[in-house]
């Protein structure tokens, strides 16, 4: 088990305030959320997941929390320790788009200020430079590679103004 992320470390002794059907509904509306309630808890998703033995709450448990309508799911480490490998989604016998649902949950967690710092700084980087990493020019010259094509930053910035990328947090 890791301390790396998430405040919900265990179900032992945990009581949940409410079962919120609206939360389940909201998650069902996410890209990939349409078959969410078909989960019959076979746990095949967790069986092939590379972080099952490293998280406090496993992916099949996340799926159950969603059907039960527990927004506390956004406090689990599984949300941000999912590697996005798509093994669970590929194998789910109910055809649930598990990994895609997790992306939607990450979006929700980000809006509630529940995201690792690395994501917050990557957002700024993507807005400011349109890229996650910058080219290493001397290596390129040594290998006879041309400069990477020019990017007009105004364009990406204009789009991000429209999508509100820098103002996702609900308190803003």
């Amino acid at each position: 088990m890791t301390e790396a992320w998430g405040t919900l470390k265990s179900f032992a002794g945990k009581t949940f305030e409410t079962l919120d059907p609206e939360f389940t509904d909201r998650v069902s509306q996410l890209i990939g959320g349409q078959d969410l309630t078909a989960c019959f808890q076979c746990a095949k998703c967790s069986a092939g997941c590379p972080v099952s033995d490293k998280v406090n709450v496993q992916i099949h448990e996340v799926m159950r929390m969603l059907v039960l309508g527990l927004p506390e799911v956004l406090d689990t480490d599984m949300i941000w320790l999912c590697t996005t490998c798509y093994t669970c989604q590929e194998r789910c016998p109910q055809g649930i788009d598990i990994t895609d649902i997790l992306f939607g949950l990450k979006n929700m967690a980000f809006q509630r200020n529940k995201a690792p710092q690395g994501y917050v700084s990557s957002r700024q980087q993507l807005y400011d430079t349109g890229k996650l990493y910058q080219p290493t020019d001397w290596e390129r010259e040594d290998l006879g590679l041309e400069e990477v094509p020019h990017l007009e930053l105004d364009e990406t910035k204009k789009m991000f103004e429209k999508t509100g990328l820098l103002k996702l947090e609900e308190d803003d």
């Binding site: 490998c85 990994t99 979006n107 910058q134």
Partner: protein
């Protein structure tokens, strides 16, 4: 809903005939390759040259956004990836990328925009701000897909057999999963890139954790967990008798050629293995001058396989 043309195309004989002709793509490099792995780009370009694959500059390319931006805000991700696709589409070109992250991101975006009318409308409204529209005409391919189409030509060009090279091949997740999006190889038993590698006389060895994620997407949230996953993979590759690990993705390669440096198992044995790109293996077997393949930029020492590669 628009039909998913890209899944049907490979079954069409007309399409197959066309792929045999000289091919032309805008090459989407992404940001990881020009930043960390210029050896991958260099080796890709010389192979493309040899095989008459024309790689056009991708003017105006931004980052694809990858799983990072998709995790932060899906609409921003769809707009960023969608803009790249729409640029190539406007110029009437298809896209090729040597990066699993870019391939996954662009294909996934394409998939959503094809199938989901309401998302397509939202994204097209944003793209109209910059004079673009996504219609879904540009095809998105991984460089290894294009190579697989040309495997007979490649077989004819092998002049330096790599006997004794025992490859732990790591396909990486987004090249094959989700298969409904990637549409390239069997998601549970991929073999196409292995076939390419074995044309050189090398052996692609079986190993239990071959399809397991490399852990690299977690470097942003928990380097500790990313490293645990990497250790499991490396131990398994070494136990299985590999003398090198081969990838077709700069993100995975970051784990195998950078993060791995100095890593040891509990007994103090090194977990490093020479890490190569698919294009470097093919290039050396095709007799391309090794200085053009960028081996001096590979971080893990290549000594154990230098003789086999003729370095």
């Amino acid at each position: 809903m628009k039909p998913r043309r890209c899944l049907r195309r490979p079954a069409c004989s007309n399409w197959r005939r066309m792929t045999r002709m000289a091919q032309e793509y805008e090459v989407f490099l992404g940001c990881a390759i020009p930043s960390r792995f210029n050896n991958y780009e260099a080796s890709m370009r010389v192979i493309a040259d040899e095989l008459d694959i024309e790689l056009l500059d991708f003017d105006g390319a931004s980052c694809c956004g990858t799983v990072v931006l998709k995790s932060i805000d899906e609409l921003s991700w769809l707009s960023m990836s969608g803009r790249n696709i729409a640029l190539a589409e406007k110029r009437g070109h298809d896209i090729v990328t040597p990066c699993n992250g870019c391939f996954g991101s662009l294909k996934d975006c394409d998939h959503v925009l094809h199938d989901n009318e309401s998302e397509r409308k939202k994204v097209n409204k944003i793209l109209s701000e910059v004079g673009l529209e996504y219609e879904g005409e540009a095809r998105i391919r991984h460089f290894v897909e294009v190579l697989y189409d040309l495997k007979d030509e490649i077989a004819d060009r092998i002049v330096n057999p790599l006997d004794g090279l025992k490859i732990a091949f790591h396909p990486g997740c987004h090249l094959i999963r989700p298969s409904t999006v990637a549409g390239f190889d069997d998601p549970e038993l991929p073999r196409k890139v292995d076939e390419l590698l074995e044309l050189t006389g090398a052996r692609s060895i079986p190993w239990n954790l071959k399809l397991r994620c490399c852990g690299s997407p977690l470097l942003i949230s928990s380097e500790e967990v990313a490293t645990e996953i990497l250790k499991e993979k490396m131990s398994n590759a070494i136990e299985s008798g590999a003398n090198c690990i081969v990838t077709n993705c700069p993100a995975c390669h970051t784990q195998f050629d950078v993060q791995v440096l100095g890593l040891e198992d509990e007994d103090g044995n090194s977990l490093e293995l020479p890490a190569l790109f698919v294009t470097q293996v093919l290039g050396v077997a095709m007799g391309i001058d090794s200085s053009k393949l960028g081996f001096e930029l590979n971080r893990v020492q290549l000594d154990p396989i230098a003789d086999i590669l003729g370095l």
